[in-house]
Amino acid sequence: MVAAYGAGAAGALLAGAGRAARVLSAAGAMVGAGAGLLLGLHALAGGAVWALGVPDVVSVAGGLLFRLDALGALFLVLVSMVAAPAALYGVGYSAAYEGRYSLRWLGAMLNLFLLATSLVPLADNVVTFLLTWEAMSVASYFLVLTERDRPETVGAANWYLGMTQVGLAFLLASFLGLGAESPALDFADLRGAAAGLSDAGRGVVFALALVGFGSKAGLIPLHVWLPRAHPAAPSHVSALLSGVMIKLGIYGLLRVGLDLLGGGPPWWGMLLIVLGAGSAVLGVLYALMEDDIKRLLAYSSVENMGIITLGVGAAFLFQSLAMPRAAALALAAALYHVLNHAAFKGLLFLGAGSVLHATGTRNMNRHGGLIHRMRWTGPCFLVGAVAIAGLPPLNGFFSEWLLFQALLPGIGVASPLIAVLMVLALGMLALTAGLAAAAFVKCFGITFLAIPRSDAAAAAHEAPVSMRAGMVALAVACAGLAAGALPVLATTGAVAAGLFGLATEPPAFRLWLAFQTPAGLARMSPPAIVVGLLGGLALVWLAVRAFASRRPLRWADTWGCGRVEQTPRMEYTATAYAEPLRRIFSAVYRPTEDVTVDHHPESRYFVQSIAYRASILPWFERYLYEPVLARVRRWGRRAQSVQSGSVHAYLAYVVVALVLLLGVLLATGAP
């Protein structure tokens, strides 16, 4: 795997700027992803733990240490599952970059990013984890920066870099806190060290890790980089960022919170549930308001990360309440949703990329009617939309069903606070599902249906073969995760059971034809639903064919109250579609509207032109980040006076620093 990604990167660097670079880098990435997939599946199937130490590199900090356990293997599978189709898609997509941007750099960084991302779940000591984590962040920063001549891309990349570095600082602090009592760097030693920490110390470590990993996972209010950076990146990179990279925030949370710290008091889980529910509802509300198709998808990622965090939070909470089987169900459901979201969000970003490729714009108000000209992208995008809206018979529904069922036992908890929290979490989850359906009717309907709203959309063309293949592969993955819901859940269930110290195959997860929740609360059979719906559809079609009139279809104009011609200006737009919800949730959005009407000079009853401008208040930026950024800038300006440019001054600083350091050492009596 390492060799293949490395070869891909080297190939891209060597092959120059043409088609060869695109093909070579994608080939390297695909072979690497294939190897990662096999390795991960092998580890999941056999449960064999595989370890590798490279003590010579950075030996000061303990060398590099890799170990593949079940949790890591699941995330390795996740990375590889999206990496291969996305890399294949990139062959066709980056053709448009030839001559404009450096393909060598893109190919090399893509491979480096995938390599680092695959190694993060394998890391088994602090230095390896932080190195691979940082390599992933930096490589993805350069990937976001691919279209570097656009000012908004540079802005987005800067936001991303800032957030990811702040996150890294919190992670460093968290790991330092974890090893504070007994200095240790291997994860195995840290597990022991964590047991010796005080409750307050563990709480601080968890909170620091939550900020660090939460900023990567895009939890509100740390999500601000996500709707900026994901749309700015090339679309196959967006698919990887949204489908894969942000999931590693969840991985880190599980690794540190559950594996190293071994869980904690109930407030950890409750905090995660509140953050998750908030991110889910606010994420989908902002997604509804977006007219930019990739920003809509990015906000929907915030929503889905919220849903996953909700499940993870429930797992933490149930573990602290000594309900390991409920915890295992919640975690198994969350991990299943992690896989599902990777598949359908990857698919949707690739689909959005094809739309962008075909029309040159991300603004849905300038799309329309693409289903007629994009005969592959349209159905693939529809599969993704149905899946992400959580509708049967696709995979999103089954994982959301499990999450609902995982939350229900929480209402039976004796503590009224927790019970009420669970009721509210259920309500928020249900509201999120309903709003997500509305958001994706808007996203698919406005983009692909009706008549084109711009010349570019009218002249749209289908994507080349490699891009279509990438999309079809992920659509098949969505269908596979739905049809194979039982074995997939058995796998994530085994991973979850392992983390909670349950037997790896408790009866609750030994499944055949139906899910049955451990509490015996509910039963549901995914294969029966898939087969029943598809079979029912075929039966209804046959019945209608047999009994209804066989007269052929007659094609005619859309009915229009007697007007003669239909123009695209009469259609509903993306903005108009979401207008009722903008009014209903105006307390959240604080919308501002500005209507300018020019009347005809002869009479007020004739309108010459209307300009309508509407925007919503970006809360988080205004109230949370702007004060912080303003303060940072002020401090920065003050610090400028130190940077005089004079060598003498710098030498003086060195001397002062040295003296201070010696003084501190003397004062503390260190050797």
Partner: protein, 316 residues
């Protein structure tokens, strides 16, 4: 009850729903007409309309795609799939384990999703308007349905509908608790919203600016319209059955024989007729709400559903 007989009974129930649904619409229309001093069309008029529509030619807009022609089948199939899972005459049936109340809610949402997409496809402003409004109402109504039924599920210790009914039959004293009444009210309000009845939508109007469901399906004709109308009738029947059999389970038999099933069918029909009369009276008495007052109604029902859940765990 298990074995082949159980599966046959489940499919027979679905057939019964399919057959009764148009009659239910006809009954409401007839009752409304009588209360408004009109003679009204006979109760079986919707059956005649369906037969006519199936025999007619289909006219399709040139702007539409394959999705427009697929959607009626998806809408109809999803509604039909729900009827297989409902407790209508007897409990528990073998298909009860295939899906629970969440499956029912999301199957109905699947139909709404495709209908809303089909509303956008012809590119007419009416379709877009109806589609946008329908999804707004559905997004707000959906959590309420889930929460109201969770309140029942917590009382019964299962989210499978057959189990809920079976438990209520075993212990009838619990069925009239405050939590049940709150959940019933919440679900009743949502029924009016989801099935396009007054005061949320007016099923009798074709005035473009006020309609929701009718605006979405404006472009449909012939067999496609027949499927959609039939599915809409089924949806009404599904919500009535949930109200009738989850909250007032008596009449549903636990030991199916020929006589018991016949009795159960009669009681079921009587319960549907009572609900139809309630809706007819309601629709005669109230006026349609402004569209932007509808969310207030729905949030009232959401709060009722939350209270219902809270009541169900307080009364433990």
């Amino acid at each position: 009850m298990s074995g082949l007989g159980g599966y046959a009974l489940a499919l027979g129930q679905a057939g019964l729903c399919l057959a009764l649904a148009p009659g239910l619409i006809g009954l409401i229309r007839w009752l409304k007409a009588r209360m408004q001093n009109r003679r009204g069309a006979p109760v079986w008029q919707p059956y005649l309309e369906l037969r006519k529509l199936f025999a007619k030619e289909v006219v399709v807009s040139t702007n539409t795609s394959w999705l427009f022609r697929l959607a009626p089948y998806v809408v109809f199939t999803s509604a039909l799939a729900v009827t297989v899972l409902l407790p209508i005459l007897a409990v528990p049936l073998p298909l009860d384990g295939v899906g629970d109340l969440l499956v029912v809610v999301y199957l109905l949402l699947l139909g709404t999703f495709f209908l809303a997409l089909a509303g956008l496809d012809p590119g007419s402003p009416f379709g877009g308007m109806g589609s946008s409004r329908e999804m707004t109402v559905a997004a707000l109504a959906e959590p309420t349905i889930a929460m109201a039924m969770f309140a029942l599920a917590l009382g019964a210790g299962s989210t499978n509908l057959g189990q809920i009914v079976a438990r209520a039959l075993e212990r009838p004293a619990e069925a009239v608790s405050p939590g049940y009444l709150l959940a019933f009210t919440a679900l009743f309000i949502v029924t009016l919203a989801e099935t396009g009845r007054l005061p949320v939508d007016n099923p009798a109007t074709h005035l473009e600016l006020t309609m929701i469901h009718e605006a979405m399906v404006l472009e449909y004709s012939g067999r496609y319209l027949a499927l959609i109308e039939w599915a809409a009738a089924l949806k009404l029947l599904i919500f009535f059955s949930l109200l009738a059999n989850l909250f007032v389970p008596w009449g549903v038999t636990a030991s199916p024989g020929a006589g018991a099933l016949l009795l159960a069918a009669l009681i079921y029909a009587a319960k549907l007729a009572v609900l139809a009369a309630v809706v007819a009276v309601f629709e005669t008495r109230v006026a349609k709400l402004r569209l932007f007052r509808v969310p207030e109604l729905l949030s009232v029902s959401f709060v009722l559903a939350l209270l219902a859940i809270t009541a169900s765990f307080l009364s433990r």
